[in-house]
Symmetry: C2
Subunit: 253 residues, 2 copies
Amino acid sequence: MGKVIAIANQKGGVGKTTTAVNLSSALAMKDKKILVIDIDAQGNTCSGFGLNKETEDKSIYEVLVEGIDIRDTIKEVSKNLYIVPVNLNLAGSQVEILEMEDREKLLRKAIEKIRNDYDFIFIDCPPSLDIMTLNALVAADSVLIPLQCEYYALEGLAQLLKTISIVQKRLNKSLYIEGVLLTMFDTRTNLSTQVMEEAISYFKDKVYKTIIPRNVKLSEAPSFGLPVINYDPSSVGAKSYINLANEFLERNK
Amino acid sequence: MGKVIAIANQKGGVGKTTTAVNLSSALAMKDKKILVIDIDAQGNTCSGFGLNKETEDKSIYEVLVEGIDIRDTIKEVSKNLYIVPVNLNLAGSQVEILEMEDREKLLRKAIEKIRNDYDFIFIDCPPSLDIMTLNALVAADSVLIPLQCEYYALEGLAQLLKTISIVQKRLNKSLYIEGVLLTMFDTRTNLSTQVMEEAISYFKDKVYKTIIPRNVKLSEAPSFGLPVINYDPSSVGAKSYINLANEFLERNK
Ligand SMILES: Nc1ncnc2c1ncn2[C@@H]1O[C@H](COP(=O)(O)OP(=O)(O)OP(=O)(O)O)[C@@H](O)[C@H]1O
Ligand SMILES: Nc1ncnc2c1ncn2[C@@H]1O[C@H](COP(=O)(O)OP(=O)(O)OP(=O)(O)O)[C@@H](O)[C@H]1O
Ligand SMILES: [Mg+2]
Ligand SMILES: [Mg+2]
């Protein structure tokens, strides 16, 4: 019960939040009980589900810094789907968290209490290898890496893998790569195919067979505060994340 | 002489590096002497110009933390175009920098010596409001804000403006917004038009008339280590950044 998966990549705009919102909602539709934890001060996961980070008085900040019980922050988004929101307090709290004892383990300790209440717990990370992403890698059983099919995104992988191996050695021995998800794949360009080939040659069968194409419905859905499977179930974007959910469950039988 | 401009937005993947690389190279082509400073540990500005961040022994890290002279790090990329690279030491150096005296002013002090050697100095920021972006906002005369034409990117603006106003009050009274640049504009979607309208209603004439469309040549160019105006001068991407350079110079007569 209760597997914890960090969705991480320090490269910005690669589809971390889009994957957190849409994979979790597709799994909830398949009767898995899912919790998504937003630890990015931007709070895009919150707005992707229609929440307003400015009005959330109890959030991951109060859990980590003030020690409140994580259960007091959990909101039900839809059937089987729950979220721990972020609020404005997290922005600018780096220094505060860095000065705390066992600062990398704060999230792991908070999640222990609720881990078995869910089938899967996803953590949406910010675009950096900072203390928040470190907390997620220490708390997680595995890491799902969204990889945008672009040159800069490919370049950033080495740094991410280095950080993961440091965490494995010192803070979380059993951490492993859940999978690598190709995102914003554009069939019209060679670049996407090149990135795919590089990813497969390096990560082999860790690369999901499901590829998420560039699809405008995925970028429109957040403006309605809805996952794409609710916004436009017939879209290519919705179908891809449903396929991903199937493949994810295959790997986690 | 010597205007310093931070290219900043904590939202990831909005075109900060693409703007740093291509606006600077278009200005250099117009006989302006340009310096680009990469302060993002990802080092995408370096690779956008064909440099390898893993082999740069003197970088912005050695300037800020070890106090070496910034002039010792500067490399000529092409005629009129120079760069201060980043190297692997910057990743994971947050704590070290946070513990230094006058930690927000380190970059400003370093730039003072060379400010008048260039017409414009651009600083490419990481996707966060961390100590590095803070250093850039303190060192800069103005901020150029790339705004991806997507919902999440629009949402992040409030936080960026709040940070800018805090810096204006406490650390850099004369900081102002150089301009807001609409990037990855997709003429086929309503979303892009909606974001444009919101940006214009809020920022008024700060929004550049030049809009950067989504153009595959812009994402292919970095894999060749070239700015788009060298990779494919006839592309829409190249022409847009040349238009932007013209508009930028209009505002800075
Ligand atoms: N497959 C896709 N097709 C089209 N647009 C997409 C796709 N995936 C994500 N997007 C859009 O691209 C932008 C970046 O995606 P997203 O915000 O999920 O990335 P992220 O990695 O979470 O970014 P950050 O690094 O800022 O946290 C968003 O505006 C999103 O709506
Ligand atoms: N107008 C455009 N058309 C197509 N692709 C673009 C355009 N502008 C940028 N890109 C591509 O989109 C991706 C994100 O752009 P870029 O890396 O410049 O953003 P960034 O804000 O610097 O990201 P980060 O937040 O990670 O620093 C890159 O792969 C880049 O090549
Ligand atoms: Mg995100
Ligand atoms: Mg960048």
